[in-house]
Point group: C2
Chain length 245, copies 2
Amino acid sequence: MAGLKQVQRQTGVALWRQIADRIREAISGGAYDETGMVPPETVLALQFGVNRHTVRSALAALAQEGIVRAVQGRGTLIERKERLNFPITRRTRFTSGIGDQAREMRGLLLDEAEKEASAEVARWLGLKQGERVIRLETLRQADKRPVSRATSWFPAKRFAGIGQVYRKHESITKAFAELGLSDYVRATTEVTAAHASTGDLADLELTPGAILLIAKAMNTDLDGVPVQYSVSRFAADRVQFTIEN
Amino acid sequence: MAGLKQVQRQTGVALWRQIADRIREAISGGAYDETGMVPPETVLALQFGVNRHTVRSALAALAQEGIVRAVQGRGTLIERKERLNFPITRRTRFTSGIGDQAREMRGLLLDEAEKEASAEVARWLGLKQGERVIRLETLRQADKRPVSRATSWFPAKRFAGIGQVYRKHESITKAFAELGLSDYVRATTEVTAAHASTGDLADLELTPGAILLIAKAMNTDLDGVPVQYSVSRFAADRVQFTIEN
DNA sequence: TTAAAATGTCTATTGATATAGACAACCATA
DNA sequence: TATGGTTGTCTATATCAATAGACATTTTAA
């Protein structure tokens, strides 16, 4: 069933990378669950119609990502195949949403700045362009494995000092609570996908060409007043979103 | 503001393709709306820190996709910059959801088959594994431009002949109506992203390395009985999803 | 009309990608 | 312990990707 011509040449994407992407997907889809191993290099080479060395380049990349581990004489073992699920609902929260899927959740503050709202940020937060906003750059981890990089904006007047509070609690929900906002709801989420930028590659420990799921989200308080606009970038091969209606 | 080092070397993705992806994104994001043109090749080369010829390869690829058109002496004009928006709500429908964003919507039936439900399909449709289901392969277009490839499964007993009906109406909603189901709702949507497979590349007129947004959706009738499970693959650079809560 | 600014074309060179073949090293098992 | 199957390493070669420079062609505007 696994066919011929699954890869294409002269497209700006190296064969070894195309093959790595296919194998990563097959692993994630449970195609090799019976053996817990990837097929032998010679078999893969035949399947994809390429040289064995090209397959080796692909497997080396996957080993670099920690997905497989090659053992001389035995074969190439699958090390990891998880995919976290993020429910997107009116009550979406990062930490609680994946509570039972990981043991340790962390939210690290990478950077904090107060500045004037850009046109886009002002539109989402219902402010005038140029009003003061606080921008937080955060990295979220599940069991010490980076999951998402987020850039969040808050109205500066209402949430002064949110950076420090977030650093203490490692949670937006708790930071809001300490600043007097006991509850909030997710108003809108826009989902797109794109190739990872260089900065995100480093933070999320990805290799170039990797895919991001991008969620632009706006949260409001219970009166419908915007309290947060955020752009979160997720490593696409580690997560999925679920929308329940 | 457009920074340095937006591209990386020796990653299996050619520089010209990385640059093409970035420019396509910038166009889609409205970065060049003032002039309606891409910056001069020499400027782009400086921005990305590469040779002018590498930028030319990227622009040639975008011209091939019909996104830009180079005019000697003038510059490189932007021809097309759409990104369709798909609202995902309880009443999600493909055709009406993007009604005002495109003039002509079509749904082409590529293939139809009746077979036994796999474990995954049975789980989503609430059937026993092995029960009969009808599988439709469809291609959806907006203004003659391919937007998504979908594989849908329906309980065979309830929706016998849905393929023929779909071919006539080019719409799931109308096909349901003719078969006696006047209304239905979206119960669950799972969103992931992945590289396009070879088959999808051809159908969606993409080049290898392209990204897909993948929506696995389950629709039920008003009594909550599953009527359709579908896996839709969208060209990520042509669409975005919006979830309103 | 001229000059500046932009894309188009050509040649040459270097490094990454892919193929090809041979053989070593290691593991499991008959 | 011998054998078959697997990964690891090495050499060599051809093609694609990227850089570099020079100059032609076209458009716009001074």
